[in-house]
Amino acid sequence: MAAGNRVVDVRRPGALIPLPLPSAEDRRLRDPRRSDVDEWGRSEHMRSLARTLYGPLYRNWFRAEWEGLENIPREGGALLVANHAAAIPSDAPVIMHGIEEELGRPVYGLADYIFKAMPVVGTLWSRVGGVPAHPENAYRLLREQGELVLVFPEGSKGPGKTYAERYRLSRFGRGGFVEIAMRAGVPVVPIAVVGAEESMPILLKSNALAKLMNIPYFPITANMLLFGPLLGTLVYLPAKFKLRVLDPVLFDVPPNQERYSKSRIMDEAESIRVSLQETLYEMLRTRRSVWFG
């Protein structure tokens, strides 16, 4: 009896009942998925449900009107940036729904991580198309998958401002969105949104409560005063939405660099902020009514 001659099934040592080995082709292709949740946590099923539910709100409540949609590329990646407002921001769904309806292109909304940490909300949010705002995520979406990505450079400072400061853009962070667009080699497309500020205006903020609840701001909104504390967090005021897409901003730098000039990034971010701010003032000059546009 020679030790070297014993046949050992190395795949499954000593198996008495051999499991059938999948064929080579089977093995490579087989991906027995049951749900339609993709790598980003999106589910087309959930998204179409959300579109059906949100459609009437978009059309009849906010009555969104677009200008300059031709500035959004029909294919390839682009980073959409917009001003951000309302205690529970109403602008993100309007922009995402609007572009998907008008152009038939999905939009991936980058948002604060805090959503991901919330039970139920985080899961639902990622199922309908939200992605945590991580530079790695943005790069992959923009550069490798050529998708439209929406980001609000103001972060939570935008929706966290009171009604008295409405339509005044806060600082655009450290310009991270410009750096991502440079690295991914895609244009930045600014979108000016009018209407969100009045849909859920913040009258007062409580820093103590926010700190206690570990959230960026704790608002007392006009909606809460009108409809009560519970319903007030769900019902928006029927402000008329107007959105204007500005000319795409292209940066004349090579993509995939290790590092980009910080001063250049800050300059570009500031110039985008200024042009968005000026467009907002321009749109407000011609607006006759908050509710009818």
Binding site: R6, R12, P13, I17, R30, R34, E39, K116, P135
Partner: protein, 347 residues
């Protein structure tokens, strides 16, 4: 080129599997296996050496056997297996001794393969959807096993810098499922239970156990230096993993989860180590493209690994454990390897 390989952790699942895979390779002359416990699977020509937990004997073995390759599979990534102290002893001190042996003056070692885990990335709400190898974890480690693996990787980076003549490969494996491997997750699913944190349905990623062994073998034979993630394609929600495995979801509260998990752990109802609880909340994904670019082909996707596990689990439930027990008998093994009475066919 004939090669001499040392496998650490021979008595563990991965060490044994790796030695079996290496035995099939005729280019590999000598396989030495080191562990604190005896091998649990039959091996043909691997020489087993018993060592203490921290591998203090290693330098002598390396010198005596003149191995050119060390495959370090003995990193504990499942914290339910042992106390934190032994885990530290094995992972950190063991690896330090191993690296010391491999970097001794006039050492014969030219290649080092280390099996780490995607646990080094952690699992947090600040994470990217996919971790590339260069991207660090989002929050500092909280669990002992994660800290020890990060320490090990740090030592390994220093070793690679100091020893440019050694090909160092670090593999980070995603959660493993397969026919035979036993992990906390496989144990839950095997018992038809899937603990889930209410309100969360994280995306998980798996790698099939055969792909793990194949990946180790691939880097050991192809000499690819660097750090690589090893994980099946795609991510799938935990609820779907439970559905494929036919497991029922056991809800855990989203707040004070640790407090509820404590007694469940304590009374041995389910193993719920803290690093796995984080995973059930936020999931984890690693980018597996770098190893593919190096030429490795996966045989299973993440969902495929889950399905393969579910099939094996169903068979186990029907016919019981189909594998005959194996016990290492020192005299018998020594007889087959060294007795002049045994006719050895040339490799």
């Amino acid at each position: 080129m004939s090669r001499r390989v040392l496998v650490t952790g021979l008595g563990t699942f991965w060490g044994g599997r790796m030695a079996q895979a290496l035995e099939r390779d005729p280019d590999i002359d000598i396989i030495v296996g080191l562990d604190t416990t005896e091998p649990t699977i039959p091996l043909e020509r691997t020489e087993y050496v018993r060592a203490d937990q921290s591998y203090s004997i290693l330098a002598r073995i390396v010198k005596a056997t003149q191995v050119d390759t060390i495959v370090h599979t003995f990193l504990v990534v499942d914290s339910t297996r042992m106390s934190g102290r032994s885990l530290h002893e094995i992972n950190v001190i063991g690896t330090m001794n191993l690296l010391a042996a491999a970097s001794a003056a006039d050492t014969s070692v030219r290649q080092l393969v280390v099996k780490s885990s995607s646990l080094v990335y952690g699992s947090s709400y600040l994470d990217p959807v996919w971790f590339r190898e260069e991207v660090g974890r989002s929050r500092p480690p909280r669990t002992r096993v994660e800290r020890s693996l990060l320490e090990v990787e740090g030592y390994l980076r220093d070793f690679a810098d100091d020893n440019p003549h050694v090909v160092v490969t670090l593999l980070r494996f995603a959660n493993v499922l397969g026919t035979d491997i036993v992990t906390p997750i496989s144990t839950w699913l095997d018992r038809g239970l899937a603990p889930a944190i209410l309100g969360f349905d994280p995306l998980l990623q798996f790698v099939e156990e055969d792909d793990v062994v194949r990946a180790l073998e691939f880097v050991a034979t192809n000499q690819v230096p660097g750090t690589y993630n090893v994980a099946g394609d795609g991510r799938l929600p935990w609820s779907e993993v439970a559905a494929i495995s036919g497991a029922r979801t056991v809800p855990l509260p989203p707040v004070l989860t640790g407090l509820v998990a404590g007694p469940i752990n304590r009374f041995g109802i389910l193993d719920l180590p803290p690093e796995v609880l984080d995973l059930l909340r936020y999931g984890r994904g690693v980018d597996n493209r770098r190893l593919k670019e190096a030429g490795f082909d996966y045989r299973y996707t993440s969902a495929g690994a889950v399905e393969n596990f579910a099939r094996a689990s169903r068979l186990r439930h029907t016919v019981g454990d189909s594998r005959p027990g194996y016990r290492y008998e020192r005299d018998v093994e020594a007889f087959f390897r060294h007795s002049p009475a045994v006719t050895r066919t040339p490799q």
